[in-house]
Every structure is written in C-alpha cells, then in structure tokens.
C-alpha cells in the first residue's frame, strides 16, 4: 500500500520576514533528509539537519554539475541555482581555478585595506538617509533605498570595477535572473547580463584597473580554456551575489534589531563591543533562501541511512540547519551571547562563499554606524506588515520603513 500523503513542494510559506517556514522543522523531526518537489516541480532531496548539511557540503561526491544534465531535476525558472552548471568531467578542476583566481581579491588583508573605504561609503549612505528624513519630517524612510541596497552595490562595484552609474541596469537584470516564477525571462536576462559583462571586460582589456574584472581578463590572457562566456557568467554571478545577498542581510539584520526594543537598546549601548557576535547571530537567523543550496550526487551515496542515487538533486537548507535544536539551544531565539556559533550561513567545504569576508566586513561596519548615529531608530510598521519576497533566490524583503 502506498502513502497518499503529498510530497511537500518548495518554497514553503512563512509567517513573517523574521520567521522560518514551520515546514522545515516538521520535516526535520521526521528525518534529516526528506523527499520534496522543487519550485519547478521536480523531485529533490531536502537537507534540514545541521550535521547532514555540513557533511554533504564537505563531501566531494556532491557537485554543481550533473552526469546527464538533460535528465537533471530542475529547481526553478530562475537563471541561477536553477539546474546543473559546469562540466561533469572538469568541475573540480574548474572550481579550483576559479577559487585561485578570486581568493586574493576577497582575502582578509584586502578586506582590511577596504575597511576604511566601506566606512566612508556607509557614512555617505547614512547622510542620504538623514537627508531623506529631513526632506519629509515625520514620515517613514525606507532603509532599503538609502542603505541596504546602495551600500553593498557601491562596495561590489568598487571591488569588481563596475560603474556605479550602471546600477539601475544591473539591479533590473539581477532581479530578473533571480525570479523563480518569471518563465523564460530569467534566461533572457542572463543573456543580457552576460552581454553587459562582455562589454565591460573589453574595456578592462584595453585599460586594466586594480579590480576583479581586470584580474579575470588577465587570467584569461594566459588561459584560453577560460572562455568569454565563462568570464561573463562569473562576472554576472559575482555582481549578483555581491549585492543581493548582503543587501538582504542588512535589511533583515535591521529588522531583527528593531523588532525588540530591549535588543536594540543593548546593541546601541555598546555597538563596537556587541557587533561581531550580533552579526553572527544575524547571519544564523536570516532565512534568505527559498530552496537551499543546490548539489547533485556524482555517485550513489548513503547519508544518515538515506540512499541518494547518482544524479539526484540535493537542496541543502542552511536556513533550516541553522535552527537545528540539536546544535543550537533555543534555535529561534536571537542570542548574541551564543558561543560557539558555528552556523552554515556561508555554507562550508570547498564551495564556501568566497564573499564571506566581504559580507562580514560590511555588516560589521554598517550596524555600529547605523545605531551609533540613530540610537533611537525604530520600525515604522509592524513586523507582520513587512512583505516577504517569496519568489526570489535570495529571498529578502521589499522595504524596511524606519523613523527616529
């Protein structure tokens, strides 16, 4: 006799921007790894438990390519994390090359050097926030317009060597490539995004600058197997990942700090002393992915008694793993005193987020400055009134109305 219970389909609904969908915990109670349907309707494994998430992140038998891509489960209709990427035979080697190429630009020494510049850009954003407030006294100001969006964009533009003046163009492209429900348009936007990057790469080739796109162009000159298409896709990916994700964390982090006045006051009383631990807790708790991170099994693997077959899609939900009660006491509580706080917000293993240092540097700069300058900052709407974006790869919220 077969079960008549329906296979759950991603993305799961949640109560508000600060909550996680209750379905994750319900699934985890049954098993660390569950059978689900992707937003595109294809079968996938969903990993909701911490230990198994960590194990699969670190297991080389899982990758982003697929042995038979045309048969692979599709995840969504977005143009990132939608299905297999890269070549099955050369993935590991290609990935190593990419990490080697990018590691210096994202290293801690470079981030230290960039720190003062990030502080300066943050001050400028806060001036704009104040000016918007002064222009319409008494009315709420949207923090996403003046800080959460522009700051990461200014920083990633500087690092990659992308003109800030083009922000509306690539903001539009980023939004379109990451929409999970936009049909064919996401792929069309990726094509446009790559054309934009190709043009930019041509400019750097003619006139190299101290920036990441110039670095990639220089690598390409010595390595013909690194194609124009590879370069364009990587450039678009870095630009997307560099602003959408950090932007989301700034917005959600502010919501976490403002949703409880005592929490805000504690942070505002000693922002520099509290910031590192607070940022880790923001990273742990901000549930930003509707699907989790995608891997495909490169051979048959058994994890926690579950047999995963070669070619199966596996979605690793860091959001769910970061709230696993077997690892984190009172997992839904915001507790900056939590130690150790070994969350998986950046993944782990060989594919760990290359921008983790950049994100941490930005977040560690932005919150002390924001609350140092506006210690009485408060939300101008109830947390339930803040609309959650459910159709985006990076999740997030559309607006953070604040006042002071």
């Amino acid at each position: 006799m077969t079960t008549t219970e329906e296979t759950p389909r991603l993305p799961f609904a949640r109560a508000n921007a600060l909550a996680i969908a209750p379905d994750y915990e319900a699934l985890r109670r049954q098993a660390p790894i569950s059978r689900v349907l992707s937003p595109a309707g294809d079968p996938a494994w969903l990993v909701t438990s911490y230990e198994e998430a960590k194990e699969i992140f670190r297991d080389k038998r899982f990758g982003r390519s697929h042995p038979a891509p045309e048969q692979a489960s599709r995840i969504s209709h977005a143009a990132v994390q939608d299905g297999p990427s890269g070549d099955f035979d050369t993935e590991e080697q290609e990935h190593k090359r990419m990490r080697r190429m990018l590691a210096p630009a994202f290293s801690a020494p470079r981030m230290r050097a960039l720190g003062d510049r990030i502080a300066e850009l943050t001050d400028r954003c806060l001036d704009d926030l104040q000016a918007a407030h002064d222009a319409h006294p008494g009315e709420p100001v949207d923090l996403t317009d003046f800080l959460a969006f522009p700051l990461p964009v200014l920083v990633i533009c500087e690092l990659l060597g992308v003109p800030y003046a083009d922000r509306e163009k690539f903001r539009g492209l980023s939004e379109r490539i990451a929409r999970m429900d936009g049909g064919e348009d996401a792929q069309a936007a990726m094509t446009e995004f790559k054309a934009y990057m190709t043009e930019l790469a041509d400019e750097k080739r003619a006139d190299p600058q101290p920036d990441v796109i110039s670095d990639m162009v220089a690598v390409q000159a010595d390595d013909p197997t690194f194609t124009d298409d590879d370069l364009a896709r990587m450039g678009a990916g870095l630009l997307f990942a560099g602003h959408e994700t950090t932007s989301t964390r700034i917005a959600m982090g502010t919501l976490f700090l403002l949703s409880d006045t005592a929490r805000r006051d504690r942070f505002a009383a000693d922002p520099h002393g509290e910031v590192n631990r607070t940022v880790e807790e923001i990273l742990r708790l901000t549930a930003t992915s509707g699907t989790g991170l995608l891997r495909y099994a490169h051979e048959d693997v058994e994890v926690a008694g579950t047999r995963i077959m070669r070619g199966d899609a596996v979605l690793i939900s860091s959001d769910a793993a970061n709230r696993d009660a077997t690892v984190f006491t009172d997992p839904d509580e915001f507790d900056p005193a939590r130690t150790p706080n070994v969350h998986l917000a950046f993944g782990t293993g060989a594919h760990v987020c290359i921008g983790a240092n950049l994100a941490r540097t930005e977040l560690r700069t932005v919150f002390p400055k924001l609350f140092g300058r506006f210690p009485g900052l408060r939300l101008a709407a109830g947390i339930d009134e803040i609309p959650v974006r459910v159709n985006r790869v990076a999740g997030g919220v559309d607006a953070v109305p604040v006042t002071w």
């Binding site: 080697r100 290293s107 782990t348 293993g349 983790a356 240092n357």
Partner: protein, 65 residues
Amino acid sequence: MKITADTGSCVASGQCVLLAPGTFDQDEDAGTVVLLADEPADGEEDAVRQAELTCPAAAIRLSGA
C-alpha cells in the same frame, strides 16, 4: 594550546583571520592560511577555538589544553 594549519587543504576562506587576526593571516597571493604563532595570541583563545570549528576545510587543528 598548540595550533597547526594545513595549507594543502585550506580553501582560502579567510574566516580564521577575521575571527583571530592576531593568530592567523592570509597569504596575499594564494589566500591560504598563515600561522603567525603556534599558539593563540593574547585574548584569542576562544576565537581560535571558534576558528577550528568554523574552518570550512577543517584545516585548523588544536592540541593540548
């Protein structure tokens, strides 16, 4: 507490450097971990323990008390 770091398995995430900047650094060219001393710098014992736990490549090992 003695620290060892395996540059061969290091994936250049630099998480250790942000956690314990007095104990770890990163090679400017390769991005791999550089151990500034084989024991934690003053006040960085907890941070070094956290670095061992968070290292994405499990490249940092601690031994002794």
